[in-house]
């Protein structure tokens, strides 16, 4: 990883990355994950929310050989190694799509819209992909 400047004098901010798009149909999920990984180097207070079609990013068993694209879903399992441990999933989004927590490839905290909305309102920076 690049050497970053010293930001020691700035207090950590709360960053939330909101994932609302399905993987592979567009690049937002993949390039969003790249932002999340970089953010880990800055010692900020980072969390990731998955809602709407963003919950499809976490579905187990993705096999991308036949579409000729790279399967980036294993990277979600590596997030813990970057100390990114706050993964939130909106309950309503899962249910609407016929999915449940057991279908996801990493442990997450499932919460309802109101809880997730409250958490979002407490952030300093919210970036949606």
């Amino acid at each position: 990883m690049t050497d970053f400047e010293d930001y020691g004098d700035i207090p950590a901010k709360r960053f939330m990355f909101v994932n609302r798009k399905a993987p592979y149909g567009t690049v937002y999920a993949l390039e969003g994950l790249e932002v999340v990984l970089i953010s880990a180097a800055f010692d900020q207070d980072v969390c990731i929310a998955f809602m709407d079609d963003g919950v499809f990013q976490l579905v187990k068993g993705q096999e991308t050989q036949t579409v000729g694209m790279k399967n980036f879903s294993p990277t979600f399992r590596a997030l813990e190694g970057y100390d990114i441990e706050k993964l939130y999933v909106e309950r309503e989004s899962l249910a609407l799509r016929g999915l449940s927590e057991a279908d996801l490839l990493v442990p997450v905290q499932v919460m309802d819209s109101a809880e997730l909305g409250a958490l979002m309102a407490e952030q300093d920076v919210v970036i949606s992909f």
Partner: protein, 119 residues
């Protein structure tokens, strides 16, 4: 059968170019002809030779150049859409040519099917 394809989104950002490529491969394998691929809207960004994806990823631009050369497919980039987006002769990848929108209408007239891939 003669297929014309139209691609309306840039590489990597949307799956359109990938889907069109896989369709083209399958059509050629079945003995069909791809007479032309017309790149419109952000689709013109499939034609820049400056693209350099990560090493473990597919090279969408070079893949089209090669398919075009191997199978005599006419790869046409719309000039008006290209100028709006910074695609010109000087950064045009091998095998692509820049021409007018008439080439799209012509493809609709001459191909048995015109298939559109976009956002």
């Amino acid at each position: 059968m003669k297929f014309g394809l139209m691609i309306n989104e840039g590489p990597y950002t949307h799956q359109a170019s990938d889907s069109a490529y896989q369709f083209a491969l399958a059509a050629l394998a079945k003995g069909h002809e791809i007479e032309r691929v017309f790149f419109y809207h952000d689709g013109v960004n499939n034609a820049t030779k400056l693209t350099e994806p990560p090493q473990d990823d597919r090279h969408i631009v070079n893949r089209w150049s090669k398919l075009g050369a191997d199978h005599g497919i006419d790869l046409v980039v719309c000039v008006a859409a290209a100028l709006r987006r910074g695609i010109r002769e000087e950064n045009l990848a091998k095998g692509f040519r820049i021409s007018g929108l008439g080439q799209l209408v012509e493809s609709g007239m001459q191909a048995d099917r015109l298939l559109v891939f976009g956002d």
